[in-house]
């Protein structure tokens, strides 16, 4: 079961196809009473502004559609875990994620079935990996 604060880049009720230009982020902090909080992001904003917004809301995991490699690397260097290339209903994905189900087998984007095995690592390994990447900077 996954805990912590996750951000879902979305467009309406679906995961936004491209995180780099997405304009809405649903924040789900499982430890807080208030559940889904919807944030607006300027679609023109770059990765630094997106990161600042996520950081200010304590997001440690980003669940999104397609994301450019440089954006993903930036966020992971900053300690935000990225689970990219997912498609589908954002609340179904949220449910599956919180129940610890493997997202990639159910919600992969077409052509991305074999991607991102590292994104499915257990929480303990993910923290280690994030720590390792942070220390590299």
């Amino acid at each position: 079961m996954n805990t912590g604060t996750a951000g879902y880049a979305c467009c309406g009720i679906r995961i936004a196809p491209v995180f780099d230009v997405s304009d809405t982020l649903i924040v789900r902090d499982r430890s807080a009473a208030e559940s889904n909080k919807r944030l607006y992001i300027d679609p023109e904003s770059g990765i630094a502004q997106r990161y600042e917004l996520m950081k200010s809301h304590g997001i440690d995991t980003l669940i999104c559609g397609a994301v450019s490699r440089e954006y993903q690397d930036y966020l992971e260097l900053k300690g935000i875990w990225v689970i990219p290339f997912l498609a589908g209903d954002v609340f179904e994905i949220q449910r599956a994620y919180e129940q610890g189900q493997a997202l990639r087998t159910q919600f992969y984007m077409p052509g991305c079935r074999c991607l991102g095995k590292r994104n499915e690592l257990p929480m303990r390994r993910r923290k280690q990996y994030a720590g390792f990447r942070r220390n590299r900077t």
């Binding site: 467009c11 679906r14 936004a16 196809p17 491209v18 780099d20 230009v21 997405s22 304009d23 679609p43 904003s45 770059g46 990765i47 630094a48 502004q49 600042e52 559609g65 397609a66 994301v67 450019s68 490699r69 440089e70 993903q72 690397d73 930036y74 990219p84 290339f85 498609a87 984007m109 077409p110 052509g111 991305c112 079935r113 991607l115 900077t137």
Partner: protein, 453 residues
């Protein structure tokens, strides 16, 4: 695919065969935004197979920067009008941004009813990389050069910018160190953050420290409120420390700590603050000399000397002078609403003969001065300052032999300097025999440094 293209096969369709053979990606959608056809080029560009694409939502397959409110296909379906040549990018399954241009059209059935839309898209990666390669030849973040030395710097900068390492820019005054620093920032992942520049030699020691790290209220007399320093101002961006060779040993120690631990303490505070900045340092001094003199810390030198960029002085890239002069003329024309066309050929020859101790800044000032004096559409020799005119001796001579001698002398001295005054190597570079080189040195009366005579 063979079955589609093979005319003998029963399901052969000329339209499909054409769609399969073109290099532009083409897909069609129905009114529920599901993909109904997907050609071979679309498979190649997106990295998604036809089997996976057909039946999927088009935005999940296409993954374009235009998906969403700015979707061209949506606009076409709403207005019935095609969109042609709209630019954007898609993200392929490897996370690479692929620049594309798209065109859209509506699909109608035999009764004229809209049944979906078609989108064609062209991969512009090759055009973009060619364009970038061309741009690199002469331009990087507003810097212009045709010099091979600058070309190699332009090649290094984007790679250096992508790393998180400290960059040390060395070069004489006026060579464009701050522009290189800005370029490093613009090409880095911190480009959305601030670029903060600080000239370390412009401030006394105590002021520099408070300027860099900031202070808290009550840190010293007159500090009635907190003031964030440049490190705080540059958070998430780049801090450019110009003239780093001029900072005192005390500040050097504090800077070293920041570079090592990524932490600093504002004056009067005991709470360390994370230094989320990328440092780019610059100097016009030989830091190794300063180390041997004991005025610069060796450990700090090695901390900042991770990636070094040596900017050549203008006298070593004289081929850029006409280009730079043209650029300054364009800029001053725009600023001063003037219409000066060019420098006269004689002026250019004078500029080429001058040794430019103040480098590009001096050239810029010279052009600005000429703008004040020039009333026509061409900058003439008379608009140049005395120090440049003093170097005219041979250059302005109408005697073709004198002009020839000047060019010879410049070429020979340049080759000798580049080869550390090794005559044989210089002769090889010039493509002449060493005896010819000796003869020309004597004939032109060139003075070589005593150690090399």
């Amino acid at each position: 695919m063979d079955t589609i293209l093979d005319m003998k096969k029963p399901n052969y369709s000329p339209t499909r065969a054409i769609l399969e053979s073109i290099s532009d990606g083409v897909f069609t959608i129905d009114l529920s935004w599901k993909i109904t056809s997907f050609n071979r080029a679309a498979e190649e560009i997106t990295g998604v197979s036809r089997d996976e694409a057909v039946g999927s939502s088009c935005s999940d397959v296409f993954r374009s920067s235009m998906c969403g409110p700015s979707c061209a296909l949506m606009e076409t379906l709403e207005t019935g009008r095609p969109v042609i040549g709209k630019s954007g990018y898609i993200i392929n399954s490897r996370g690479e941004r692929i620049p594309i241009s798209i065109s859209t059209a509506v699909l109608r059935n035999e009764y004229g009813e809209i049944i979906g839309g078609a989108e064609t898209f062209r991969d512009l990666s090759e055009i973009w990389s060619l364009k970038q390669a061309l741009d690199k030849r002469t331009d990087l973040s507003g810097m212009t050069s045709k010099s091979p030395k600058m070309q190699s710097i332009f090649e290094i900068i984007p790679a250096a910018a992508q790393s998180h390492s400290t960059v040390l820019i060395c070069g004489e005054t006026g060579t464009g160190k701050e522009m290189i620093a800005r370029s490093v920032h613009e090409h880095s992942r911190r480009s959305d953050g601030p670029f903060v520049a600080l000239n370390c030699s412009a401030l006394p020691d105590t002021l520099l420290e408070s300027e860099l790290f900031g202070y808290t209220a009550g840190a010293f007399t007159g500090a009635d409120k907190d003031k964030p320093g440049r490190f705080a101002a540059a958070k998430g961006g780049t801090l450019f420390l110009d003239e780093i060779g001029d900072i005192s040993p005390a500040v050097q120690v504090k800077l070293l700590r920041v570079l090592q631990e990524r932490l600093y303490e504002p004056l009067g505070s005991t709470q360390p603050v994370e230094a989320d900045v990328r440092i780019v340092a610059a100097t016009n001094k030989d830091l190794k000399n300063l180390i041997s003199e004991g005025t610069f810390r060796e450990d700090l030198f090695y901390r900042i000397h991770v990636m070094r960029v040596d900017l050549p002085p203008l006298r070593e890239r004289k081929e850029d002078i006409p280009l730079l002069a043209e650029q300054f003329i364009e800029r001053f024309n725009a600023l001063q609403h003037r219409h000066i066309q060019r420098c006269s050929p004689e002026t250019i020859s004078m500029l080429m003969a001058y040794h430019w101790p103040g480098n590009i800044r001096e050239l810029e000032n010279m052009i600005e001065r000429a703008f004040i004096l020039c009333t026509g559409d061409e900058i003439e020799i008379g608009h140049l300052p005395d120090e440049i005119l003093a170097s005219r001796q041979v250059a302005v001579s109408s005697n073709i032999h004198s002009a020839h001698d000047l060019l010879d002398a410049q070429s020979i001295m340049g080759a000798l300097e580049r080869n550390n005054y090794n005559r044989l190597a210089a002769a090889k570079e010039l493509g002449i025999h060493k005896a010819t080189l000796f003869r020309k040195i004597n004939k032109l009366g060139l003075k070589l440094p005593k150690s090399h005579n």
